[in-house]
């Protein structure tokens, strides 16, 4: 509302109390009393007025950016071996969270996020061979173990599914694993979120393991465990 100092009456007397009152009004205004109505209506804030973001490395000198927040979470000690392990659960046909790849955050305003996730994964415990002495190469990576995807607020994002296939075969005695394909699991998505609290996470949907009747001398499951290692997720949000 601006300052509202009443004029002294002409030819009157300016008392100490009256002067103090008017300067108190100015003091209150400057010390936090400015409201939006006091600001010039047309756009006036230039880029030079804004606190600059801090870039480390290119393209720092060439971008006009404005203030932003960086929120980050890191897996404990960035331990590569802190794996997320998932097992075949009979009857389960739904996505479950991959440990330490989820985050809950609050948007102050409508914000567009670009999300990139990366990890590598493999299966263990299965056996895809045809018989005891021959590798079942035509079966390897043809039975699905699980599907990874990015989820936002509990909904799978289109274009983010990445599959992991049963890929373990055992050789002849002493029956050591001869095949074990480890895979990159990487995907991206872009989503615009409203003001409020939101969740972003990577989930995996293990399929029910099935018997590989060709595995001699005894039958075996095509897979038992999904290992997920070296997980990272970066969600970069910007608004305006």
């Amino acid at each position: 509302m601006g300052t509202d100092t009443t004029d002294f009456v002409a030819s009157g007397t300016a008392s100490k109390v009256a002067i103090d009152s008017r300067f108190d009004d100015i003091e209150r205004y400057l010390n936090g009393g400015i409201v939006s109505a006091d600001l010039q209506a047309s756009a006036w804030a230039g880029a030079r007025h804004l606190v600059k973001p801090r870039f480390f490395g290119a393209p720092a000198p060439r971008v006009t950016g404005t203030t932003f927040d960086v929120h980050w979470r890191g897996e404990l000690s960035y331990n590569r071996d802190a794996r997320s392990i998932h097992h075949g659960i009979y009857g389960l046909d739904d996505y479950v969270p991959v440990r330490n790849t989820g985050g809950t955050f609050k948007c102050r305003t409508t914000t567009t996020f670009q999300i990139l996730t990366s990890a590598y994964a493999w299966t263990s415990g299965g056996d895809m061979r045809d018989n005891i002495y021959a590798l079942a190469t035509n079966d390897v990576e043809q039975r699905l173990a699980g599907t990874f995807a990015i989820f936002v607020n509990g909904s799978r994002r289109a274009g983010t599914r990445r599959r992991l296939w049963a890929a373990v075969c055992y050789s002849s005695a002493p029956y050591t694993p001869e095949w074990s394909a480890k895979k990159q699991i990487t995907s991206i998505t872009q989503v615009t979120l409203s003001a409020g609290v939101h969740d972003i996470e990577v989930r995996v949907k293990p399929v029910t393991p099935t018997l590989n009747n060709d595995a001699a001398p005894t039958t075996a499951l095509d897979w038992k465990h999904i290992w997920v290692e070296g997980r990272t997720m970066v969600a970069w949000g910007h608004h305006g």
Partner: protein
Amino acid sequence: MSRVSLTVIDPGDNLLITALNAQLSAWDVASVDVDDNNVRDEGIDARNLVNNAVVPTSSGFRTCEPYEYDGDITDASPPTTNTLMDDGTDPIAIGPIDYDGDAGDMLIVRCSTEVKIGVNVTNAFAGYFMLRYSLDWDGTVAGAGAATWVNLLTTLRVLRINGTEFNLVPAFTSYTVSHLFDTAGVIDSATLRFALWAYVDWVTTAPTLVLSDPSMHATLMRR
């Protein structure tokens, strides 16, 4: 323009009511029209402003319309030269990204897809995947052949299987790239489009090529 300019009352001057009123009036006028003269450089935190309150509004970051496809793009007999990968309706492309004449914007382009090559292959093969851009592509599959394309060689990724040990084994991988694209010297005022291209080399039998759940998006940083 809002700037308080007070008339100094020097020692020995008569302290007139009119002088006091002039000073207070200067405060009243200026205090309802606060503008850029009242703010020091870097004195505003953008978090206190509503969206797009900053001028010029074109500065800063903005995102382009993303491409997301939920499903498979299959090529039963992939060619051995660069081919635009498309879902039958829309090519895998972002944009268009339209420029208003400010050359030198920076783009971060990201593309990701699952890749499968197999299972008909009976010998060694190699699949090649790369982002390309065009300034004259109309954005349709039919128009891709007539357009002029430029390779972004740093985005080339190869999925290769050598040797007969891998006969009849399909190969899966994830293709994900992030590419910083400087438009300076490339484009001033035109439409820029990116697309994912692929081709496969094989020895004896043509494999199938499947891209699953591809997605692409970009960030524009205006200088």
